[in-house]
Amino acid sequence: MREYIPLLMLMGFIVFNAIVMVALSQILSTRRRTAVKGAPYESGMPALGGTRARFSVKFYLVAMLFIVFDIEMVFMIPWAVEFRQLGLFGLVEMGIFILILGVGLVYLWKRGALEWD
């Protein structure tokens, strides 16, 4: 575990620096808040409607696809590290795995999940 001690030290040091930066600018800066200044920026016009409006469902779809493919990738990393020991068996296994993954990708592609219009 001794390798993690420097990491924790670094994390502490950086977080401390980030807090100091924010705090220092709070202390050094002036502040005059007005209602107009506090309004969200919309190119100089008064803000129209709320921000928490609906947005395209495509963004959810991308997040879902990301989860699927990211997990597949996590399976690949230990396989890659141990590949020389696994030999031909490992290659065939991963070939089948990537084939299934590829079929999924082709299905998504044909269903139009990857299209942005």
């Binding site: 993690y4 950086i14 600018s25 506090g38 963004f59 990301f66 990393i77």
Partner: protein, 410 residues
Amino acid sequence: MTPEELKGLLLVSSIKIGVVFAVIMIGVIMIIWVERRGSALLQDRLGPNRVGPLGLLQNVADGLKNFTKEEVMPLQADPVIFVMAPMMSFVAAMLLFAVVPFAAPLPPFDVTLPLIGHVVHEGPVAMVIANLPVGFLFILAVSSIAVYGIVLAGWSSNSKYAFLGALRASAQMISYEIPLAMSLVVVLLLAGNVPLGDIIAFQQQTTWFVFAATLSWLLFHVATFAETNRMPFDLAEAEAELVAGFHTEYSSMKFAMFFIAEYTGLITMSALIATLFFGGWDIPFTTWDEQEATNWSFGTLFRVGMTNLFFIGKTFFFAWVYIWVRWTVPRFRFDQVMHLGWKILLPISLGYIVVMASAVLVLERLGMVHDWKYGMALFAVNVPLVALCVFGLDRDRLLLGARLRSQAET
């Protein structure tokens, strides 16, 4: 671990953290200067040239100004998350450097210092902040955290521009994380271990992975542009459409923190490209830099210094490539970004894993030892693959097209 060893570890780590942090901060200031002057050079204008010699102190002046400027927080913003977001971006960007080795190891030491007392370090002192056994996985984990800072900044600002910028940035960053990581599966396949030190050692033994896994490097390099939100993938900011994207509502030092985080990310990604594909601190064509460090002689210190210089040189070269590309390639539209990530980079990286695994298996069956011939054999596999990808994707638009156009002109 004895108390002397613990003290030695803490001492060495403190020095390394302090030096690396200072070098990165100076590097960020230098890179911003290079970006501004380099942009000016490429656009045939002068750029900042008033503050200090050649305008070198311009960014220091800007930084100081940012400390004293008024902080504007939108009244409808979520105050806690609004303050947390730039800090998260900053911390994630800085943390990534923890596992990147930046020089050849120093020899072990056993000395008695004033004030601190007797300190010991068993084995060579690896020139990396944290020599984690999970090195590579740490990079994947921390680079995913970077997206949180951007999403939370956009969401908490409660502004439409910021919100749209954050949505786009998150979709883009998570999409490109897959080709980014998949291209590195090939690197792990070759190196056979995850700590970055082992990956460098394997490259010293064979060849740099830019030869042994050329396509991997190209995929990784393209994906890092999207991960750091650099041109031509700067849809998170998109000045022409979204004002300033996710940091529209940020001002003063909080804005500067996003700025520093962005350039720290740029330096770290350059360092990663140098480490994973260009041998890290390795000096090419010599084995002199790979000797075991045993004693504190001038030669050892010189070796550590030289390897560090090579590492910095490689890193700054790739940082310059980022700036160069910014003014060479026009921006993508959002649907083109997604198309490139999901329909081009992802299938290529999947196919490449299978091809490279087969090639490695064949070379192992042939009983090839891991020396430079091994790397060159893999390079021979890569050359047709890269040619196929480049000419296939180009479809005669740029490479052949440019020649035809120049022929038509003359």
